[in-house]
Protein backbone atom coordinates (compact mmCIF):
# COMPACT_ATOMS: atom_id res chain seq x y z
CA UNK A 1 0.00 0.00 0.00
CA UNK A 2 1.32 3.45 -0.91
CA UNK A 3 1.05 6.15 1.73
CA UNK A 4 2.12 9.79 1.82
CA UNK A 5 5.15 8.91 3.95
CA UNK A 6 6.96 5.97 2.40
CA UNK A 7 9.02 3.83 4.76
CA UNK A 8 10.18 1.23 2.20
CA UNK A 9 13.87 2.14 2.22
CA UNK A 10 13.90 2.52 6.01
CA UNK A 11 12.40 -0.84 6.95
CA UNK A 12 15.66 -2.64 7.75
CA UNK A 13 17.16 0.19 9.74
CA UNK A 14 13.98 0.38 11.83
CA UNK A 15 14.88 -2.99 13.35
CA UNK A 16 17.64 -1.23 15.31
CA UNK A 17 15.33 1.32 16.90
CA UNK A 18 15.11 1.14 20.71
CA UNK A 19 12.18 -0.60 22.35
CA UNK A 20 9.78 1.31 24.54
CA UNK A 21 10.35 1.38 28.31
CA UNK A 22 8.97 -1.81 29.89
CA UNK A 23 7.82 0.17 32.93
CA UNK A 24 5.94 2.66 30.76
CA UNK A 25 4.15 -0.17 28.94
CA UNK A 26 3.26 -1.84 32.28
CA UNK A 27 1.87 1.43 33.67
CA UNK A 28 -0.11 2.05 30.46
CA UNK A 29 -1.74 -1.40 30.51
CA UNK A 30 -2.51 -1.07 34.21
CA UNK A 31 -4.19 2.32 33.68
CA UNK A 32 -6.37 0.74 31.02
CA UNK A 33 -6.98 -2.38 33.10
CA UNK A 34 -5.85 -4.51 30.16
CA UNK A 35 -5.05 -8.10 31.09
CA UNK A 36 -3.97 -11.26 29.26
CA UNK A 37 -6.22 -12.25 26.41
CA UNK A 38 -7.39 -8.69 25.71
CA UNK A 39 -7.78 -7.76 22.04
CA UNK A 40 -5.45 -5.04 20.83
CA UNK A 41 -5.26 -3.33 17.45
CA UNK A 42 -1.71 -2.03 16.99
CA UNK A 43 -1.85 0.62 14.28
CA UNK A 44 1.20 1.51 12.21
CA UNK A 45 2.88 -1.53 13.73
CA UNK A 46 5.99 -1.11 11.56
CA UNK A 47 8.60 -3.73 12.34
CA UNK A 48 6.65 -4.82 15.46
CA UNK A 49 8.49 -3.03 18.31
CA UNK A 50 5.29 -2.40 20.27
CA UNK A 51 3.47 -5.42 18.81
CA UNK A 52 6.02 -7.79 20.36
CA UNK A 53 5.88 -6.11 23.78
CA UNK A 54 2.08 -6.45 23.79
CA UNK A 55 2.12 -10.02 22.50
CA UNK A 56 4.65 -11.12 25.13
CA UNK A 57 2.29 -9.74 27.79
CA UNK A 58 -0.41 -12.09 26.55
CA UNK A 59 -2.56 -9.77 24.42
CA UNK A 60 -4.09 -10.90 21.16
CA UNK A 61 -2.70 -8.36 18.68
CA UNK A 62 -4.03 -7.43 15.27
CA UNK A 63 -1.10 -5.52 13.76
CA UNK A 64 -1.99 -3.05 11.00
CA UNK A 65 0.79 -1.66 8.78
CA UNK A 66 0.47 -0.07 5.34
CA UNK A 67 4.07 -0.44 4.15
CA UNK A 68 4.93 -3.82 2.59
CA UNK A 69 8.63 -3.79 3.52
CA UNK A 70 7.95 -2.80 7.12
CA UNK A 71 5.17 -5.36 7.44
CA UNK A 72 7.39 -8.08 5.97
CA UNK A 73 9.97 -7.39 8.70
CA UNK A 74 7.24 -7.31 11.33
CA UNK A 75 5.79 -10.64 10.18
CA UNK A 76 9.24 -12.24 10.26
CA UNK A 77 9.95 -10.99 13.79
CA UNK A 78 6.61 -12.27 15.11
CA UNK A 79 6.40 -15.56 13.22
CA UNK A 80 6.71 -17.58 16.47
CA UNK A 81 4.01 -15.57 18.22
CA UNK A 82 0.67 -17.25 17.61
CA UNK A 83 -1.25 -14.31 19.10
CA UNK A 84 -0.21 -11.82 16.39
CA UNK A 85 -2.07 -11.41 13.08
CA UNK A 86 -0.92 -8.91 10.43
CA UNK A 87 -3.09 -6.74 8.18
CA UNK A 88 -2.57 -4.09 5.52
CA UNK A 89 -4.23 -0.80 6.47
CA UNK A 90 -3.71 2.76 7.72
CA UNK A 91 -4.54 4.69 10.89
CA UNK A 92 -7.47 6.41 9.19
CA UNK A 93 -8.72 3.21 7.59
CA UNK A 94 -7.58 0.10 9.41
CA UNK A 95 -10.00 -2.31 7.73
CA UNK A 96 -10.69 -3.83 11.17
CA UNK A 97 -14.17 -4.59 12.55
CA UNK A 98 -16.13 -2.06 14.62
CA UNK A 99 -16.17 -2.55 18.41
CA UNK A 100 -13.71 -5.42 18.11
CA UNK A 101 -10.99 -4.21 20.48
CA UNK A 102 -10.29 -3.42 24.14
CA UNK A 103 -7.26 -1.31 23.26
CA UNK A 104 -5.99 0.54 20.17
CA UNK A 105 -2.32 1.55 20.14
CA UNK A 106 -0.15 3.74 17.92
CA UNK A 107 3.59 3.11 18.41
CA UNK A 108 5.46 6.06 16.84
CA UNK A 109 2.78 6.27 14.18
CA UNK A 110 0.07 8.67 15.39
CA UNK A 111 2.07 11.66 14.07
CA UNK A 112 2.02 10.37 10.49
CA UNK A 113 -1.76 9.95 10.58
CA UNK A 114 -4.41 12.59 10.11
CA UNK A 115 -4.86 12.61 13.89
CA UNK A 116 -8.55 13.61 14.15
CA UNK A 117 -9.44 10.97 11.53
CA UNK A 118 -7.32 8.35 13.27
CA UNK A 119 -9.10 9.13 16.56
CA UNK A 120 -12.48 8.66 14.86
CA UNK A 121 -11.32 5.35 13.45
CA UNK A 122 -10.03 4.34 16.90
CA UNK A 123 -13.40 5.16 18.48
CA UNK A 124 -15.07 2.96 15.84
CA UNK A 125 -12.73 0.04 16.58
CA UNK A 126 -13.07 0.16 20.35
CA UNK A 127 -15.57 -1.71 22.46
CA UNK A 128 -17.51 0.58 24.85
CA UNK A 129 -15.11 2.09 27.44
CA UNK A 130 -12.09 0.78 25.51
CA UNK A 131 -8.76 2.61 25.57
CA UNK A 132 -6.56 4.53 23.12
CA UNK A 133 -2.80 5.03 23.46
CA UNK A 134 -0.14 6.73 21.38
CA UNK A 135 3.56 6.76 22.17
CA UNK A 136 7.02 7.77 21.04
CA UNK A 137 10.56 7.38 22.25
CA UNK A 138 12.07 10.85 22.60
CA UNK A 139 15.83 11.19 22.64
CA UNK A 140 17.07 13.46 25.43
CA UNK A 141 18.34 16.35 23.29
CA UNK A 142 20.17 17.90 26.26
CA UNK A 143 22.55 14.97 26.51
CA UNK A 144 25.94 16.35 25.27
CA UNK A 145 26.38 13.89 22.37
CA UNK A 146 22.77 14.31 21.26
CA UNK A 147 23.02 18.10 21.56
CA UNK A 148 26.04 18.07 19.22
CA UNK A 149 24.14 15.94 16.70
CA UNK A 150 21.23 18.37 16.81
CA UNK A 151 23.55 21.27 16.02
CA UNK A 152 25.19 19.32 13.16
CA UNK A 153 21.72 18.92 11.66
CA UNK A 154 20.62 22.51 12.24
CA UNK A 155 23.82 23.92 10.71
CA UNK A 156 22.74 22.23 7.45
CA UNK A 157 18.96 22.18 7.77
CA UNK A 158 18.14 25.41 9.67
CA UNK A 159 14.39 24.82 9.82
CA UNK A 160 14.73 21.28 11.15
CA UNK A 161 12.10 20.31 13.73
CA UNK A 162 10.32 17.25 15.07
CA UNK A 163 6.76 18.49 14.65
CA UNK A 164 3.88 16.62 16.22
CA UNK A 165 5.92 13.58 17.30
CA UNK A 166 7.39 15.62 20.15
CA UNK A 167 4.21 17.52 21.02
CA UNK A 168 1.89 16.97 23.96
CA UNK A 169 -1.01 14.96 22.52
CA UNK A 170 -3.48 16.01 25.23
CA UNK A 171 -5.11 18.81 23.22
CA UNK A 172 -5.78 16.85 20.03
CA UNK A 173 -7.33 13.99 22.01
CA UNK A 174 -9.45 16.39 24.09
CA UNK A 175 -10.63 18.27 20.97
CA UNK A 176 -11.99 15.06 19.47
CA UNK A 177 -14.48 14.92 22.38
CA UNK A 178 -14.45 11.15 21.89
CA UNK A 179 -12.30 10.35 24.92
CA UNK A 180 -12.12 11.07 28.65
CA UNK A 181 -9.22 12.81 30.44
CA UNK A 182 -5.79 12.03 29.00
CA UNK A 183 -3.18 10.38 31.20
CA UNK A 184 0.49 10.91 30.36
CA UNK A 185 3.30 8.48 31.18
CA UNK A 186 6.95 9.47 30.76
CA UNK A 187 9.67 6.94 31.52
CA UNK A 188 13.40 7.35 31.02
CA UNK A 189 15.50 4.60 29.51
CA UNK A 190 19.12 4.29 28.41
CA UNK A 191 19.68 2.64 25.05
CA UNK A 192 23.23 1.46 24.49
CA UNK A 193 24.03 1.49 20.83
CA UNK A 194 27.13 0.55 18.83
CA UNK A 195 28.42 3.49 16.78
CA UNK A 196 27.65 1.65 13.54
CA UNK A 197 24.09 0.97 14.62
CA UNK A 198 23.76 4.56 15.68
CA UNK A 199 24.73 5.73 12.19
CA UNK A 200 22.31 3.20 10.72
CA UNK A 201 19.57 4.61 12.94
CA UNK A 202 20.20 8.08 11.53
CA UNK A 203 20.05 6.67 8.02
CA UNK A 204 16.59 5.39 8.94
CA UNK A 205 15.42 8.69 10.38
CA UNK A 206 12.29 9.42 8.33
CA UNK A 207 11.71 12.87 9.81
CA UNK A 208 15.25 13.97 9.00
CA UNK A 209 15.14 12.50 5.50
CA UNK A 210 11.92 14.34 4.69
CA UNK A 211 13.18 17.68 5.95
CA UNK A 212 16.79 17.51 4.76
CA UNK A 213 15.83 16.60 1.18
CA UNK A 214 18.96 16.75 -1.02
CA UNK A 215 21.15 17.42 2.01
CA UNK A 216 20.25 14.14 3.73
CA UNK A 217 23.45 12.27 2.74
CA UNK A 218 25.64 15.22 3.74
CA UNK A 219 24.00 15.41 7.19
CA UNK A 220 24.35 11.66 7.73
CA UNK A 221 28.00 11.84 6.72
CA UNK A 222 28.67 14.68 9.20
CA UNK A 223 26.93 12.79 12.01
CA UNK A 224 28.97 9.68 11.16
CA UNK A 225 32.24 11.67 11.26
CA UNK A 226 31.31 13.11 14.65
CA UNK A 227 30.32 9.76 16.16
CA UNK A 228 33.52 8.10 14.89
CA UNK A 229 35.59 10.96 16.35
CA UNK A 230 34.36 9.90 19.83
CA UNK A 231 36.63 6.83 19.49
CA UNK A 232 34.16 4.56 21.25
CA UNK A 233 32.58 1.26 20.21
CA UNK A 234 29.23 2.28 21.61
CA UNK A 235 27.43 5.18 23.28
CA UNK A 236 24.64 5.46 25.84
CA UNK A 237 21.65 7.29 24.46
CA UNK A 238 19.11 8.57 26.99
CA UNK A 239 15.53 8.29 25.81
CA UNK A 240 12.17 8.75 27.41
CA UNK A 241 9.13 6.78 26.40
CA UNK A 242 6.17 9.15 26.30
CA UNK A 243 2.68 7.66 26.24
CA UNK A 244 -0.72 9.35 26.17
CA UNK A 245 -3.66 7.15 27.23
CA UNK A 246 -7.39 7.90 27.20
CA UNK A 247 -10.64 6.00 27.61
CA UNK A 248 -13.48 6.08 25.12
CA UNK A 249 -16.38 8.12 26.49
Amino acid sequence: MKTEWDYTTLANAYLKRPDYSDSAIDAMLSIAGIAKGARVCDVGAGVAHLTIMLALRGMHVDAVEPNDAMRANGIKRTEKLKNVVWHEGTGENTGQPAQGFDFVSFGSSFNVCDRPKALKETARLLKPKGWFACMWNHRDLEDPIQARIESIIKERVPKYGYGTRREDQTAVVAESKLFGPVVHVDSSIIHEQAIEECVAAWRSHATLERQAGGKFQEVIHAIEEFLKSLKKDSIEIPYSTNIWVAQLR
Binding site: A27, P181, H184
Partner: protein
Protein backbone atom coordinates in the same frame (compact mmCIF):
# COMPACT_ATOMS: atom_id res chain seq x y z
CA UNK B 1 10.60 17.20 62.85
CA UNK B 2 11.80 20.83 62.95
CA UNK B 3 10.47 21.73 59.53
CA UNK B 4 7.02 20.49 60.36
CA UNK B 5 6.74 22.58 63.50
CA UNK B 6 7.72 25.93 61.95
CA UNK B 7 6.44 26.98 58.51
CA UNK B 8 4.71 23.67 57.93
CA UNK B 9 2.83 23.35 61.18
CA UNK B 10 -0.47 21.78 60.21
CA UNK B 11 -1.96 21.78 63.73
CA UNK B 12 -5.45 23.25 63.64
CA UNK B 13 -5.79 22.70 59.90
CA UNK B 14 -6.49 19.02 60.09
CA UNK B 15 -10.29 19.25 60.04
CA UNK B 16 -10.35 21.49 56.94
CA UNK B 17 -7.73 19.27 55.38
CA UNK B 18 -9.52 16.06 56.02
CA UNK B 19 -12.96 17.03 54.78
CA UNK B 20 -12.13 19.43 51.95
CA UNK B 21 -8.89 18.51 50.23
CA UNK B 22 -9.39 16.77 46.88
CA UNK B 23 -8.43 13.20 46.21
CA UNK B 24 -6.04 12.05 43.46
CA UNK B 25 -6.59 10.88 39.87
CA UNK B 26 -7.66 7.23 39.88
CA UNK B 27 -5.99 6.45 36.55
CA UNK B 28 -2.66 7.53 38.00
CA UNK B 29 -3.21 5.23 40.99
CA UNK B 30 -3.92 2.34 38.60
CA UNK B 31 -0.77 3.12 36.63
CA UNK B 32 1.35 3.24 39.79
CA UNK B 33 0.01 -0.14 40.94
CA UNK B 34 0.95 -1.61 37.54
CA UNK B 35 4.59 -0.64 38.11
CA UNK B 36 4.90 -2.90 41.16
CA UNK B 37 6.36 -6.34 40.55
CA UNK B 38 3.57 -8.26 42.27
CA UNK B 39 -0.23 -8.43 42.19
CA UNK B 40 -2.02 -5.70 44.17
CA UNK B 41 -3.37 -8.19 46.76
CA UNK B 42 0.22 -9.08 47.76
CA UNK B 43 1.48 -5.51 48.21
CA UNK B 44 2.47 -4.17 51.64
CA UNK B 45 2.17 -0.39 51.46
CA UNK B 46 3.42 2.49 53.61
CA UNK B 47 2.20 6.07 53.20
CA UNK B 48 4.58 8.55 54.82
CA UNK B 49 3.52 12.11 55.62
CA UNK B 50 0.06 10.64 55.29
CA UNK B 51 -1.68 13.73 56.68
CA UNK B 52 -5.29 12.82 57.27
CA UNK B 53 -5.02 9.82 54.94
CA UNK B 54 -6.77 10.97 51.74
CA UNK B 55 -4.29 9.11 49.51
CA UNK B 56 -3.77 6.34 52.09
CA UNK B 57 -7.43 5.39 51.92
CA UNK B 58 -7.46 5.45 48.08
CA UNK B 59 -4.62 2.92 48.03
CA UNK B 60 -6.32 0.87 50.76
CA UNK B 61 -9.51 0.77 48.68
CA UNK B 62 -7.50 -0.52 45.69
CA UNK B 63 -7.07 -3.78 47.61
CA UNK B 64 -3.45 -3.93 48.79
CA UNK B 65 -2.56 -6.49 51.49
CA UNK B 66 -1.56 -4.09 54.27
CA UNK B 67 -1.40 -0.33 54.81
CA UNK B 68 0.56 1.64 57.36
CA UNK B 69 0.20 5.42 57.58
CA UNK B 70 3.09 7.42 59.07
CA UNK B 71 2.41 11.04 60.07
CA UNK B 72 4.41 13.31 62.39
CA UNK B 73 1.66 15.81 63.27
CA UNK B 74 -0.62 14.61 66.05
CA UNK B 75 -3.65 16.65 65.00
CA UNK B 76 -3.43 15.40 61.41
CA UNK B 77 -2.83 11.85 62.56
CA UNK B 78 -5.82 11.88 64.90
CA UNK B 79 -8.10 13.09 62.14
CA UNK B 80 -6.61 10.40 59.93
CA UNK B 81 -7.35 7.72 62.52
CA UNK B 82 -10.94 8.96 62.87
CA UNK B 83 -11.46 9.06 59.09
CA UNK B 84 -9.95 5.59 58.67
CA UNK B 85 -12.23 3.88 61.22
CA UNK B 86 -13.41 0.52 59.98
CA UNK B 87 -10.38 0.00 57.75
CA UNK B 88 -7.27 -2.06 58.52
CA UNK B 89 -4.98 1.00 58.16
CA UNK B 90 -2.39 1.20 60.97
CA UNK B 91 -1.34 4.73 62.05
CA UNK B 92 2.11 5.53 63.44
CA UNK B 93 3.99 8.64 64.53
CA UNK B 94 7.10 9.09 62.41
CA UNK B 95 8.62 11.16 59.65
CA UNK B 96 10.13 10.69 56.20
CA UNK B 97 13.73 10.62 57.42
CA UNK B 98 12.86 8.26 60.28
CA UNK B 99 9.71 6.30 59.61
CA UNK B 100 10.11 3.86 62.50
CA UNK B 101 9.25 1.00 60.10
CA UNK B 102 11.28 -2.21 59.97
CA UNK B 103 13.87 -2.77 57.23
CA UNK B 104 12.66 -4.59 54.08
CA UNK B 105 9.08 -4.47 55.32
CA UNK B 106 7.14 -2.87 52.43
CA UNK B 107 6.80 -3.19 48.64
CA UNK B 108 5.68 0.37 48.07
CA UNK B 109 6.23 3.60 49.99
CA UNK B 110 4.65 6.89 48.98
CA UNK B 111 4.57 10.52 50.00
CA UNK B 112 1.44 12.32 48.84
CA UNK B 113 1.66 16.13 48.79
CA UNK B 114 4.38 15.95 51.42
CA UNK B 115 7.76 15.06 49.88
CA UNK B 116 8.64 18.77 49.53
CA UNK B 117 8.85 18.91 53.36
CA UNK B 118 11.37 16.03 53.53
CA UNK B 119 15.15 16.08 53.37
CA UNK B 120 15.77 14.46 49.97
CA UNK B 121 18.86 12.38 50.71
CA UNK B 122 17.88 11.31 54.24
CA UNK B 123 14.36 10.37 53.16
CA UNK B 124 15.41 8.44 50.03
CA UNK B 125 17.98 6.56 52.14
CA UNK B 126 15.27 5.69 54.68
CA UNK B 127 12.87 4.54 51.94
CA UNK B 128 15.61 2.35 50.45
CA UNK B 129 15.99 0.76 53.90
CA UNK B 130 12.31 -0.03 54.47
CA UNK B 131 11.64 -1.24 50.90
CA UNK B 132 12.03 -4.85 49.79
CA UNK B 133 14.20 -5.54 46.71
CA UNK B 134 12.67 -3.97 43.55
CA UNK B 135 10.08 -2.14 45.69
CA UNK B 136 9.08 1.36 44.64
CA UNK B 137 9.00 4.86 46.09
CA UNK B 138 6.37 7.27 44.80
CA UNK B 139 6.12 11.02 45.38
CA UNK B 140 2.94 12.67 44.17
CA UNK B 141 1.06 15.95 44.29
CA UNK B 142 -2.27 17.19 43.03
CA UNK B 143 -1.97 20.87 42.08
CA UNK B 144 -5.00 22.73 40.78
CA UNK B 145 -5.25 23.63 37.11
CA UNK B 146 -6.96 26.97 37.60
CA UNK B 147 -6.64 27.85 33.89
CA UNK B 148 -9.56 25.52 33.23
CA UNK B 149 -12.09 27.79 35.01
CA UNK B 150 -12.36 31.63 34.60
CA UNK B 151 -13.86 32.06 38.09
CA UNK B 152 -10.82 30.42 39.65
CA UNK B 153 -8.50 32.55 37.52
CA UNK B 154 -10.22 35.66 38.92
CA UNK B 155 -9.85 34.47 42.52
CA UNK B 156 -6.18 33.71 41.98
CA UNK B 157 -5.65 37.16 40.41
CA UNK B 158 -7.25 38.79 43.46
CA UNK B 159 -4.90 36.83 45.68
CA UNK B 160 -1.88 38.13 43.75
CA UNK B 161 -3.15 41.71 44.14
CA UNK B 162 -3.43 41.27 47.93
CA UNK B 163 0.18 40.21 48.23
CA UNK B 164 2.19 40.58 45.02
CA UNK B 165 5.27 38.98 46.58
CA UNK B 166 3.31 35.87 47.56
CA UNK B 167 5.27 32.64 47.41
CA UNK B 168 3.25 29.45 47.26
CA UNK B 169 4.98 26.38 48.68
CA UNK B 170 4.26 22.85 47.49
CA UNK B 171 1.57 22.63 44.88
CA UNK B 172 3.65 20.28 42.82
CA UNK B 173 3.96 22.61 39.87
CA UNK B 174 7.18 24.30 40.88
CA UNK B 175 10.15 23.86 43.15
CA UNK B 176 11.13 20.27 43.81
CA UNK B 177 9.06 18.84 40.96
CA UNK B 178 11.11 20.65 38.31
CA UNK B 179 14.20 18.61 39.15
CA UNK B 180 12.72 15.50 40.74
CA UNK B 181 13.14 13.16 37.74
CA UNK B 182 16.83 14.00 37.49
CA UNK B 183 17.39 13.85 41.26
CA UNK B 184 15.85 10.40 41.50
CA UNK B 185 17.75 9.29 38.41
CA UNK B 186 21.03 10.43 40.01
CA UNK B 187 20.18 8.96 43.42
CA UNK B 188 22.31 6.04 44.67
CA UNK B 189 19.14 4.45 46.05
CA UNK B 190 16.71 4.47 43.13
CA UNK B 191 16.45 3.81 39.38
CA UNK B 192 13.85 3.42 36.62
CA UNK B 193 12.04 6.71 37.22
CA UNK B 194 8.56 6.83 35.72
CA UNK B 195 6.43 9.98 35.66
CA UNK B 196 2.63 9.82 35.47
CA UNK B 197 0.22 12.67 35.06
CA UNK B 198 -3.57 12.69 34.96
CA UNK B 199 -6.30 15.21 35.58
CA UNK B 200 -9.68 14.93 37.16
CA UNK B 201 -12.49 17.37 37.87
CA UNK B 202 -13.91 17.76 41.34
CA UNK B 203 -17.26 19.43 41.74
CA UNK B 204 -17.46 21.34 45.00
CA UNK B 205 -20.20 23.30 46.66
CA UNK B 206 -19.27 26.67 48.15
CA UNK B 207 -18.66 25.28 51.63
CA UNK B 208 -16.21 22.66 50.48
CA UNK B 209 -14.44 25.12 48.18
CA UNK B 210 -13.92 27.55 51.08
CA UNK B 211 -12.77 24.68 53.26
CA UNK B 212 -10.15 23.77 50.67
CA UNK B 213 -8.79 27.35 50.82
CA UNK B 214 -8.80 27.27 54.65
CA UNK B 215 -6.52 24.22 54.54
CA UNK B 216 -3.79 25.97 52.55
CA UNK B 217 -1.12 26.27 55.20
CA UNK B 218 1.41 28.58 53.55
CA UNK B 219 -1.23 31.10 52.50
CA UNK B 220 -2.55 31.64 56.02
CA UNK B 221 1.02 32.23 57.24
CA UNK B 222 1.98 34.65 54.46
CA UNK B 223 -1.19 36.75 54.39
CA UNK B 224 -1.62 36.97 58.15
CA UNK B 225 -4.93 36.10 59.83
CA UNK B 226 -6.83 39.35 59.00
CA UNK B 227 -5.92 39.50 55.35
CA UNK B 228 -6.55 35.76 55.04
CA UNK B 229 -10.08 36.15 56.45
CA UNK B 230 -10.84 39.05 54.09
CA UNK B 231 -9.62 36.93 51.18
CA UNK B 232 -12.00 34.14 52.24
CA UNK B 233 -14.76 36.79 52.36
CA UNK B 234 -13.95 37.77 48.75
CA UNK B 235 -14.23 34.14 47.64
CA UNK B 236 -17.51 33.78 49.53
CA UNK B 237 -19.02 36.78 47.68
CA UNK B 238 -17.69 35.62 44.30
CA UNK B 239 -19.12 32.15 44.70
CA UNK B 240 -22.42 33.01 46.41
CA UNK B 241 -24.51 32.44 43.26
CA UNK B 242 -22.55 29.50 41.96
CA UNK B 243 -24.16 26.11 42.58
CA UNK B 244 -21.19 23.94 41.69
CA UNK B 245 -17.57 25.01 41.45
CA UNK B 246 -15.69 22.82 39.00
CA UNK B 247 -12.08 22.54 40.00
CA UNK B 248 -9.65 20.62 37.79
CA UNK B 249 -6.78 18.91 39.57
CA UNK B 250 -3.63 17.50 38.02
CA UNK B 251 -2.15 14.50 39.77
CA UNK B 252 1.60 14.35 39.14
CA UNK B 253 3.42 11.25 40.34
CA UNK B 254 7.03 10.05 40.24
CA UNK B 255 7.70 6.35 40.80
CA UNK B 256 11.25 5.00 41.19
CA UNK B 257 12.45 1.45 41.73
CA UNK B 258 14.71 0.57 44.65
CA UNK B 259 18.26 -0.16 43.51
CA UNK B 260 19.73 -3.53 44.39
Amino acid sequence: MNKIIKAGDFTGLAKDYSSNRPDYCRSVLKGLLGLLDKPVQQVDFADVGAGTGIWTRMVHAAGVRSVVAVEPNEDMRENGITDSKGTSIRWLAGKAEETGLAGSSVDWVSMASSFHWADFSAATKEFHRILRPSGRFTALWNPRLIEANPLLVEIEAHLSSLRPSLKRVSSGRSGITETLTQKLFDSPYFEDVVYLEGRHIIEMDQERYLGAWRSVNDLRVQLGPDCFESFLGFIERKTSNVKVIEATYLTRAWSARRKG
